[in-house]
Symmetry: C2
Subunit: 335 residues, 2 copies
């Protein structure tokens, strides 16, 4: 794999590498005769010259690379988000390098280290539990970074988030309006603030309601999520299967739960009503149209790249966290 360099062009054209660099980069301010310009361009073309961005990066201290760290790129939410980020990034000349942390703080830390050694210009991160140290290090180094989807407290890294608490409250109120006997929140056993916010929204709606309704929570771990959801719902419904509503706080939880309902022939919404956080293609194949909370992924990607680009250009620019609003997409899964 022999690659040609600016030096080769200079040699053939009998000019200096400086001149070649100037014309290849179309530098204003530099007056180069049309003749040499043309000559250089022609030679570059003919020897199939490809600039070496690594060399350029070393000199300019910019790689035009952005690191994206998510929990798992094969997760539909993140892959969809990644795709939108890719598009926005490309428009500003950035390429994405992607890593999955698997909710593991050490792996997360390792990826940050790896990407920063690769000299990415900025980092887009979905932090995991226990990543405070790694993130604060970023602040200390003044490394441009923005959190997305999730956040951790007490860090100055700007974030692009949604109104988790508010929308969960609203979703819960949608259920409260319907006079269910029991409303169940299905979420994760976690310390992640964005998930706790969802739970808080649920709690607050219940607390502020004048209705007397039984509530229950099924909180599952990050491992064996699917089984735990099933068992949780099973235990719940084995006693009573009517007039109950389920609030799934993520699409992964919803898919696990809906699958259980489907297999056990429990009708939605006749026997159990459902509202879920996040979209997934899977809802398309469920017999009942699911009512769900839709995140504005496009806008999230947009804001993220904009903020990060500003930070890269000027780290001192005051970039603050954006809370985007969400909407409830009405299906037919609530009685």
């Amino acid at each position: 794999m022999k690659r040609t360099s600016i030096k080769d062009i200079a040699q053939i054209a009998q000019v200096s590498v400086a001149t070649v660099s100037y014309v290849l980069n179309n530098k204003e301010g530099q007056k180069i005769s049309e003749a040499t310009k043309e000559k250089i361009l022609k030679i570059a073309e003919s020897i199939n010259y490809k600039p070496n961005k690594i060399a350029k990066s070393l000199k300019t201290n910019k790689t035009k690379l952005l690191g994206l760290i998510v929990a798992d790129i094969s997760n539909e939410f993140y892959s969809t988000l990644a795709r939108k980020l890719e598009n926005k990034a490309l428009k500003k000349g950035y390429t994405l390098i992607i890593g999955s942390s698997d909710e593991n703080a050490e792996k997360f830390q390792m990826l940050i280290e790896l990407f920063s050694q690769q000299q990415v210009d900025g980092l887009i991160i979905a932090p995991v539990a226990g990543s405070e140290v790694a993130l604060n290090q970023l602040i200390k180094e003044e490394y441009p970074a923005v959190m997305i989807d999730r956040y951790i407290n007490n860090t100055k890294i700007p974030a692009v988030l949604i109104n988790n608490k508010e929308i969960s409250e609203k979703a819960t109120n949608r259920l409260l309006d319907k006079d269910f006997d029991t409303i169940v929140y299905i979420g994760y056993q976690t310390t992640m603030p964005h998930l706790l916010d969802r739970e808080k929204g649920f709690d607050s709606a219940i607390l502020n309601s004048e209705k007397s309704v039984k509530t229950k929570k099924i909180l599952v771990g990050i491992e064996n999520t699917s089984d735990e959801v099933k068992n949780g719902i099973k235990n719940l419904l084995d006693n009573k299967v009517s007039n109950t509503a389920l609030f799934f706080s993520s699409n992964k939880l919803a898919v696990a739960g809906l699958k259980y309902l489907l297999i056990n022939n429990i009708k939605v919404p006749e026997e159990v009503s459902v509202i879920a956080f996040d979209e997934t293609e899977a809802y398309n194949l469920f017999p009942t149209e699911i009512t769900y909370i839709k995140q504005p992924l496009e806008e999230m990607a947009d804001e993220t790249i904009t903020i990060l680009d500003h930070l890269i250009t000027d780290y001192k620019s005051l970039e603050k966290t954006k809370i985007l609003s969400t909407q409830i997409i009405e299906g037919k899964s609530i009685k």
Copy 2:
């Protein structure tokens, strides 16, 4: 974002940068006294030294970056594959940079150009229609690359594929065994060989069968796929809705088709039987367990990284295309 360099360490330790480089890289063959070793390591630690891989890359001509070009990273098939590739790559010290071609030859070409300028050590590509020129250029430049999932003819780039024709034949035979009146192949209107192979497998099974069965093909475009599938199935079933089997040649087609069946309350397998290519989480929420063809993604990722790594180490090493075998996962969607 002030970063420390090897030079800073050398200065503080009062040694040469060469010495620092040697101890930081643990170079054998170089005898450095324990005392200076220790001193250097301590200083590196204390000033929070992070090696600049860009500089190293420029010198060594290796970036430890791999470019992955898929049609769309938000597509479940590719994101799942990407995740497995990420894991395998990381084990060998590579990081993935990812781009989506959107089935567009120009964008595909642009991504190859971009990634090669970023000096990725190798390329993993799912080629698109019309990408022959770009791929042959890669061969000419002796750029390490491997095709995955798809291939194009007449190129020397090795590929990691599945036995598309054979498994489609087998799947079609599964249907032929059941004496359906009509068997329908639902695929893409395309020139992509791997998809044509699936169609050929279908054709060949039908041709070699002794049964007399009506067959039909619904071939849709890459745009508006979903609508075209629905219309195709609608036209088909408006006349007769019994004893028909559908062979979906991709999970995207299957999701579109199954959704149509669901909405129109057409029972699987009572009224229509179904077999589909590829897995998707969405099958979980469909009332009937789908019988589908499962690709060995783990193995594909494994082979791909292995071949690419060999090619990077020694381009002349003879790496040949691998055809992996697939299996039919039995569900309950065939009568």
